[in-house]
Symmetry: C2
Subunit: 162 residues, 2 copies
Amino acid sequence: MPVVKAEFNPRYEALICLLRASEALWNASRIFFAQWRLGPSQFNVLKILHDAPDGCTQAELSRALLVHRSNITGLLNRLEKRKLLERRDSKTDRRAYRVVLTAAGRRLVRRTLPHYHRAALAVWGRLSEKRVRQIVSEFGQVSRDAEQAVRPFSNQPKHART
Amino acid sequence: MPVVKAEFNPRYEALICLLRASEALWNASRIFFAQWRLGPSQFNVLKILHDAPDGCTQAELSRALLVHRSNITGLLNRLEKRKLLERRDSKTDRRAYRVVLTAAGRRLVRRTLPHYHRAALAVWGRLSEKRVRQIVSEFGQVSRDAEQAVRPFSNQPKHART
DNA sequence: CAGAGATTGTTTATGAGTCAACAATTTATA
DNA sequence: TATAAATTGTTGACTCATAAACAATCTCTG
Protein backbone atom coordinates (compact mmCIF):
# COMPACT_ATOMS: atom_id res chain seq x y z
CA MET A 1 0.00 0.00 0.00
CA PRO A 2 2.24 2.85 1.13
CA VAL A 3 4.10 4.43 -1.71
CA VAL A 4 4.93 7.43 0.43
CA LYS A 5 8.50 7.33 1.59
CA ALA A 6 9.38 8.38 5.09
CA GLU A 7 11.00 11.79 5.46
CA PHE A 8 12.83 11.30 8.76
CA ASN A 9 11.38 14.57 9.99
CA PRO A 10 9.11 14.08 12.99
CA ARG A 11 7.30 17.36 12.46
CA TYR A 12 6.60 16.49 8.89
CA GLU A 13 5.22 13.22 10.12
CA ALA A 14 3.04 15.05 12.62
CA LEU A 15 1.59 17.15 9.85
CA ILE A 16 0.63 14.11 7.86
CA CYS A 17 -0.67 12.45 10.97
CA LEU A 18 -2.91 15.34 11.87
CA LEU A 19 -4.29 15.53 8.37
CA ARG A 20 -4.91 11.80 8.31
CA ALA A 21 -6.65 11.91 11.67
CA SER A 22 -8.90 14.72 10.61
CA GLU A 23 -9.66 12.92 7.40
CA ALA A 24 -10.55 9.81 9.33
CA LEU A 25 -12.84 11.83 11.59
CA TRP A 26 -14.45 13.55 8.67
CA ASN A 27 -15.03 10.26 6.87
CA ALA A 28 -16.40 8.71 10.02
CA SER A 29 -18.84 11.55 10.47
CA ARG A 30 -19.88 11.31 6.84
CA ILE A 31 -20.75 7.66 7.36
CA PHE A 32 -22.38 8.47 10.67
CA PHE A 33 -24.69 11.18 9.39
CA ALA A 34 -25.63 9.19 6.30
CA GLN A 35 -28.06 7.44 8.64
CA TRP A 36 -30.21 10.52 8.40
CA ARG A 37 -29.24 11.33 4.80
CA LEU A 38 -27.17 14.29 5.97
CA GLY A 39 -23.67 15.40 5.13
CA PRO A 40 -21.51 16.64 8.00
CA SER A 41 -21.75 20.20 6.74
CA GLN A 42 -25.49 19.96 6.52
CA PHE A 43 -25.60 18.76 10.09
CA ASN A 44 -23.48 21.71 11.17
CA VAL A 45 -25.89 24.10 9.57
CA LEU A 46 -28.86 22.49 11.26
CA LYS A 47 -27.08 22.42 14.61
CA ILE A 48 -26.21 26.09 14.48
CA LEU A 49 -29.75 27.02 13.52
CA HIS A 50 -31.05 24.85 16.32
CA ASP A 51 -29.04 26.90 18.81
CA ALA A 52 -30.14 30.22 17.32
CA PRO A 53 -33.72 30.92 18.31
CA ASP A 54 -34.18 33.73 15.81
CA GLY A 55 -32.30 32.06 12.98
CA CYS A 56 -29.23 33.38 11.21
CA THR A 57 -28.36 35.29 8.12
CA GLN A 58 -26.34 33.42 5.54
CA ALA A 59 -23.36 35.63 6.26
CA GLU A 60 -23.54 34.67 9.94
CA LEU A 61 -23.64 31.02 9.00
CA SER A 62 -20.65 31.37 6.75
CA ARG A 63 -18.67 33.01 9.55
CA ALA A 64 -19.71 30.40 12.09
CA LEU A 65 -18.68 27.58 9.77
CA LEU A 66 -15.56 29.30 8.48
CA VAL A 67 -16.58 28.78 4.89
CA HIS A 68 -17.11 31.15 2.02
CA ARG A 69 -20.43 32.92 1.57
CA SER A 70 -20.98 31.34 -1.79
CA ASN A 71 -20.81 27.93 -0.29
CA ILE A 72 -23.76 28.56 1.97
CA THR A 73 -26.10 29.18 -0.93
CA GLY A 74 -25.98 25.62 -2.25
CA LEU A 75 -25.94 24.09 1.21
CA LEU A 76 -29.15 25.89 2.12
CA ASN A 77 -30.77 25.17 -1.23
CA ARG A 78 -30.40 21.43 -0.63
CA LEU A 79 -31.74 21.65 2.90
CA GLU A 80 -34.58 23.94 1.90
CA LYS A 81 -35.64 21.53 -0.81
CA ARG A 82 -36.04 18.91 1.91
CA LYS A 83 -38.09 21.33 3.99
CA LEU A 84 -35.68 21.21 6.91
CA LEU A 85 -35.29 24.98 6.93
CA GLU A 86 -36.59 28.06 5.21
CA ARG A 87 -35.41 31.50 4.18
CA ARG A 88 -37.49 34.39 5.45
CA ASP A 89 -37.00 37.95 4.35
CA SER A 90 -35.26 39.96 7.01
CA LYS A 91 -37.38 42.72 8.46
CA THR A 92 -34.42 45.00 9.01
CA ASP A 93 -32.12 44.39 6.05
CA ARG A 94 -33.55 43.95 2.62
CA ARG A 95 -30.36 42.35 1.32
CA ALA A 96 -30.48 39.49 3.80
CA TYR A 97 -32.52 36.44 4.68
CA ARG A 98 -33.18 35.04 8.09
CA VAL A 99 -32.68 31.32 7.84
CA VAL A 100 -34.76 29.30 10.30
CA LEU A 101 -35.41 25.64 10.98
CA THR A 102 -38.80 24.19 10.17
CA ALA A 103 -40.51 21.97 12.72
CA ALA A 104 -39.21 18.97 10.77
CA GLY A 105 -35.68 20.33 10.88
CA ARG A 106 -35.91 20.87 14.60
CA ARG A 107 -37.19 17.34 15.16
CA LEU A 108 -34.36 15.92 13.08
CA VAL A 109 -31.69 17.71 15.11
CA ARG A 110 -33.18 16.60 18.41
CA ARG A 111 -33.28 13.01 17.24
CA THR A 112 -29.69 13.11 15.99
CA LEU A 113 -27.85 14.93 18.73
CA PRO A 114 -27.70 12.28 21.47
CA HIS A 115 -26.28 9.75 19.03
CA TYR A 116 -23.68 12.27 18.01
CA HIS A 117 -22.51 12.93 21.54
CA ARG A 118 -22.22 9.24 22.22
CA ALA A 119 -20.07 8.82 19.14
CA ALA A 120 -17.79 11.72 20.06
CA LEU A 121 -17.13 10.16 23.42
CA ALA A 122 -16.30 6.82 21.82
CA VAL A 123 -13.69 8.52 19.67
CA TRP A 124 -11.93 10.59 22.34
CA GLY A 125 -12.64 8.51 25.39
CA ARG A 126 -9.21 6.94 25.59
CA LEU A 127 -7.39 10.23 25.99
CA SER A 128 -7.12 11.64 29.48
CA GLU A 129 -8.71 14.96 30.28
CA LYS A 130 -5.24 16.35 30.82
CA ARG A 131 -4.07 15.35 27.36
CA VAL A 132 -7.22 16.67 25.83
CA ARG A 133 -6.60 20.05 27.44
CA GLN A 134 -3.04 20.05 26.14
CA ILE A 135 -4.20 19.32 22.64
CA VAL A 136 -6.69 22.12 22.77
CA SER A 137 -4.10 24.64 23.81
CA GLU A 138 -1.36 23.46 21.46
CA PHE A 139 -3.45 23.25 18.37
CA GLY A 140 -4.67 26.77 18.65
CA GLN A 141 -1.04 27.79 18.36
CA VAL A 142 -0.37 25.45 15.46
CA SER A 143 -3.32 26.89 13.58
CA ARG A 144 -2.14 30.42 14.16
CA ASP A 145 1.38 29.58 13.09
CA ALA A 146 0.06 27.98 9.93
CA GLU A 147 -1.82 31.12 9.03
CA GLN A 148 1.20 33.19 9.87
CA ALA A 149 3.61 31.09 7.80
CA VAL A 150 1.48 31.61 4.76
CA ARG A 151 0.55 35.24 5.19
CA PRO A 152 3.30 36.53 2.88
CA PHE A 153 1.55 34.84 -0.03
CA SER A 154 -2.06 35.19 0.87
CA ASN A 155 -2.55 38.74 -0.33
CA GLN A 156 -0.58 38.38 -3.50
CA PRO A 157 -2.47 38.76 -6.78
CA LYS A 158 -3.69 35.34 -7.85
CA HIS A 159 -1.84 35.18 -11.12
CA ALA A 160 -2.05 38.19 -13.29
CA ARG A 161 -3.28 37.00 -16.65
CA THR A 162 -3.49 33.52 -18.06
CA MET B 1 -16.27 17.06 10.98
CA PRO B 2 -19.13 18.73 12.68
CA VAL B 3 -17.70 21.91 13.97
CA VAL B 4 -20.30 23.11 16.40
CA LYS B 5 -20.57 25.24 19.46
CA ALA B 6 -18.97 24.30 22.73
CA GLU B 7 -20.83 21.73 24.76
CA PHE B 8 -18.98 21.95 28.08
CA ASN B 9 -17.31 18.68 27.26
CA PRO B 10 -13.54 18.90 26.96
CA ARG B 11 -13.33 15.98 24.55
CA TYR B 12 -15.93 17.54 22.39
CA GLU B 13 -13.90 20.70 22.41
CA ALA B 14 -10.82 18.73 21.41
CA LEU B 15 -12.67 17.35 18.43
CA ILE B 16 -13.54 20.81 17.26
CA CYS B 17 -10.06 22.00 17.91
CA LEU B 18 -8.49 19.23 15.88
CA LEU B 19 -10.80 19.80 12.99
CA ARG B 20 -10.22 23.53 13.06
CA ALA B 21 -6.48 22.98 13.11
CA SER B 22 -6.59 20.61 10.19
CA GLU B 23 -8.76 23.02 8.29
CA ALA B 24 -6.32 25.80 8.99
CA LEU B 25 -3.44 23.64 7.79
CA TRP B 26 -5.28 22.62 4.67
CA ASN B 27 -6.16 26.23 3.88
CA ALA B 28 -2.62 27.32 4.53
CA SER B 29 -1.27 24.69 2.20
CA ARG B 30 -3.75 25.68 -0.47
CA ILE B 31 -2.48 29.24 -0.29
CA PHE B 32 1.10 28.04 -0.11
CA PHE B 33 0.98 25.84 -3.20
CA ALA B 34 -0.90 28.42 -5.20
CA GLN B 35 2.54 29.97 -5.73
CA TRP B 36 3.16 27.21 -8.22
CA ARG B 37 -0.46 26.97 -9.34
CA LEU B 38 -0.86 23.66 -7.54
CA GLY B 39 -3.58 22.38 -5.26
CA PRO B 40 -2.51 20.44 -2.17
CA SER B 41 -3.74 17.20 -3.68
CA GLN B 42 -1.86 17.84 -6.87
CA PHE B 43 1.29 18.39 -4.87
CA ASN B 44 0.75 15.13 -3.03
CA VAL B 45 0.50 13.29 -6.31
CA LEU B 46 3.69 14.83 -7.62
CA LYS B 47 5.48 14.13 -4.37
CA ILE B 48 4.56 10.47 -4.40
CA LEU B 49 5.60 10.07 -7.99
CA HIS B 50 8.85 11.82 -7.25
CA ASP B 51 9.66 9.17 -4.65
CA ALA B 52 8.65 6.28 -6.89
CA PRO B 53 11.36 5.75 -9.50
CA ASP B 54 9.24 3.51 -11.71
CA GLY B 55 6.02 5.47 -11.33
CA CYS B 56 2.74 4.22 -9.93
CA THR B 57 -0.49 2.84 -11.20
CA GLN B 58 -3.55 4.95 -10.54
CA ALA B 59 -4.82 2.37 -8.09
CA GLU B 60 -1.58 2.62 -6.12
CA LEU B 61 -1.93 6.37 -6.04
CA SER B 62 -5.48 6.15 -4.81
CA ARG B 63 -4.43 3.86 -1.97
CA ALA B 64 -1.47 6.00 -1.02
CA LEU B 65 -3.65 9.11 -0.88
CA LEU B 66 -6.62 7.37 0.73
CA VAL B 67 -8.95 8.65 -1.93
CA HIS B 68 -11.32 6.95 -4.30
CA ARG B 69 -10.08 5.61 -7.66
CA SER B 70 -12.37 7.84 -9.59
CA ASN B 71 -10.85 10.88 -8.03
CA ILE B 72 -7.42 10.12 -9.41
CA THR B 73 -8.62 10.31 -12.98
CA GLY B 74 -9.40 14.02 -12.91
CA LEU B 75 -6.41 14.86 -10.76
CA LEU B 76 -4.08 13.24 -13.29
CA ASN B 77 -5.90 14.76 -16.25
CA ARG B 78 -5.22 18.24 -14.92
CA LEU B 79 -1.56 17.49 -14.26
CA GLU B 80 -1.08 15.72 -17.56
CA LYS B 81 -2.52 18.68 -19.43
CA ARG B 82 0.25 20.76 -17.88
CA LYS B 83 2.83 18.19 -18.93
CA LEU B 84 3.97 17.55 -15.38
CA LEU B 85 3.39 13.82 -15.71
CA GLU B 86 2.36 11.25 -18.26
CA ARG B 87 0.50 7.96 -18.44
CA ARG B 88 2.41 5.10 -20.03
CA ASP B 89 0.85 1.79 -20.86
CA SER B 90 1.90 -0.83 -18.38
CA LYS B 91 3.99 -3.59 -19.90
CA THR B 92 2.55 -6.21 -17.60
CA ASP B 93 -1.11 -5.28 -17.14
CA ARG B 94 -3.10 -4.03 -20.06
CA ARG B 95 -5.76 -2.55 -17.80
CA ALA B 96 -3.36 -0.23 -16.02
CA TYR B 97 -1.17 2.78 -16.69
CA ARG B 98 2.16 3.54 -15.18
CA VAL B 99 2.05 7.19 -14.20
CA VAL B 100 5.44 8.92 -14.26
CA LEU B 101 6.73 12.44 -13.79
CA THR B 102 8.05 14.31 -16.80
CA ALA B 103 11.34 16.19 -16.51
CA ALA B 104 9.30 19.36 -15.92
CA GLY B 105 7.34 17.66 -13.15
CA ARG B 106 10.49 16.49 -11.50
CA ARG B 107 12.01 19.96 -11.67
CA LEU B 108 8.88 21.45 -10.13
CA VAL B 109 8.93 19.08 -7.18
CA ARG B 110 12.60 19.71 -6.53
CA ARG B 111 12.05 23.45 -6.59
CA THR B 112 9.05 23.23 -4.28
CA LEU B 113 10.15 20.77 -1.66
CA PRO B 114 12.63 22.88 0.32
CA HIS B 115 10.07 25.65 0.68
CA TYR B 116 7.57 23.12 1.88
CA HIS B 117 9.85 21.73 4.55
CA ARG B 118 10.66 25.20 5.76
CA ALA B 119 6.97 25.97 6.05
CA ALA B 120 6.27 22.73 7.93
CA LEU B 121 8.94 23.64 10.44
CA ALA B 122 7.49 27.11 10.90
CA VAL B 123 4.14 25.56 11.72
CA TRP B 124 5.26 22.83 14.10
CA GLY B 125 8.47 24.36 15.36
CA ARG B 126 7.03 25.49 18.69
CA LEU B 127 6.14 21.98 19.74
CA SER B 128 8.89 19.88 21.24
CA GLU B 129 9.94 16.69 19.54
CA LYS B 130 8.58 14.78 22.48
CA ARG B 131 5.17 16.36 22.12
CA VAL B 132 5.18 15.75 18.41
CA ARG B 133 5.87 12.07 18.99
CA GLN B 134 3.00 11.92 21.46
CA ILE B 135 0.65 13.46 18.99
CA VAL B 136 1.64 11.02 16.31
CA SER B 137 1.01 8.04 18.54
CA GLU B 138 -2.23 9.27 20.04
CA PHE B 139 -3.83 10.33 16.82
CA GLY B 140 -3.35 6.95 15.31
CA GLN B 141 -5.54 5.64 18.11
CA VAL B 142 -8.11 8.38 17.73
CA SER B 143 -8.39 7.64 14.02
CA ARG B 144 -8.87 3.96 14.65
CA ASP B 145 -11.50 4.62 17.31
CA ALA B 146 -13.34 6.88 14.92
CA GLU B 147 -13.46 4.16 12.30
CA GLN B 148 -14.51 1.68 14.94
CA ALA B 149 -17.29 3.86 16.30
CA VAL B 150 -18.82 4.10 12.90
CA ARG B 151 -18.34 0.56 11.69
CA PRO B 152 -21.85 -0.57 12.62
CA PHE B 153 -23.20 1.78 9.96
CA SER B 154 -20.57 1.63 7.30
CA ASN B 155 -21.75 -1.54 5.60
CA GLN B 156 -25.38 -0.70 5.70
CA PRO B 157 -27.17 -0.18 2.38
CA LYS B 158 -26.78 3.46 1.42
CA HIS B 159 -30.40 4.48 1.60
CA ALA B 160 -32.91 2.54 -0.33
CA ARG B 161 -34.88 5.16 -2.19
CA THR B 162 -35.21 8.85 -1.72
C1' DC C 1 -9.20 -24.83 -19.83
C1' DA C 2 -13.55 -22.42 -18.70
C1' DG C 3 -15.78 -19.58 -16.10
C1' DA C 4 -16.43 -16.91 -11.79
C1' DG C 5 -14.65 -13.20 -9.42
C1' DA C 6 -11.66 -9.39 -8.55
C1' DT C 7 -9.21 -5.28 -10.22
C1' DT C 8 -8.26 -1.14 -13.29
C1' DG C 9 -9.53 3.13 -15.03
C1' DT C 10 -13.47 5.96 -16.90
C1' DT C 11 -17.90 8.14 -16.76
C1' DT C 12 -21.74 10.32 -14.62
C1' DA C 13 -24.12 12.36 -10.84
C1' DT C 14 -23.81 14.68 -6.54
C1' DG C 15 -21.84 17.29 -2.60
C1' DA C 16 -18.69 20.46 -0.79
C1' DG C 17 -15.20 23.84 -1.02
C1' DT C 18 -12.54 27.97 -3.38
C1' DC C 19 -12.54 32.68 -5.81
C1' DA C 20 -14.13 36.60 -8.62
C1' DA C 21 -17.62 39.47 -10.24
C1' DC C 22 -22.27 41.31 -9.91
C1' DA C 23 -26.62 43.91 -8.37
C1' DA C 24 -28.98 45.44 -4.49
C1' DT C 25 -28.69 47.50 -0.35
C1' DT C 26 -26.79 49.31 3.94
C1' DT C 27 -23.36 52.21 6.41
C1' DA C 28 -20.00 55.62 6.95
C1' DT C 29 -17.93 59.83 5.71
C1' DA C 30 -16.78 64.13 3.70
C1' DT D 1 -27.11 65.06 2.05
C1' DA D 2 -24.58 62.96 -1.50
C1' DT D 3 -21.44 59.76 -2.45
C1' DA D 4 -17.94 56.42 -1.47
C1' DA D 5 -17.25 52.08 0.83
C1' DA D 6 -18.68 47.88 2.77
C1' DT D 7 -21.89 43.97 3.04
C1' DT D 8 -25.35 40.44 1.34
C1' DG D 9 -26.55 36.70 -1.46
C1' DT D 10 -26.11 34.65 -6.18
C1' DT D 11 -23.75 33.00 -10.15
C1' DG D 12 -20.13 30.75 -12.92
C1' DA D 13 -15.75 28.59 -13.34
C1' DC D 14 -12.71 25.74 -10.98
C1' DT D 15 -10.77 21.88 -7.60
C1' DC D 16 -11.43 17.90 -4.94
C1' DA D 17 -14.07 14.33 -2.95
C1' DT D 18 -17.66 10.37 -2.98
C1' DA D 19 -20.46 6.39 -5.10
C1' DA D 20 -22.33 3.53 -8.74
C1' DA D 21 -22.06 1.32 -13.00
C1' DC D 22 -19.36 -0.13 -16.97
C1' DA D 23 -15.95 -2.55 -20.23
C1' DA D 24 -11.62 -4.51 -20.39
C1' DT D 25 -8.57 -7.37 -18.34
C1' DC D 26 -6.30 -10.23 -14.90
C1' DT D 27 -6.45 -14.20 -11.48
C1' DC D 28 -8.08 -17.91 -9.19
C1' DT D 29 -10.45 -22.20 -8.87
C1' DG D 30 -13.06 -26.18 -10.23
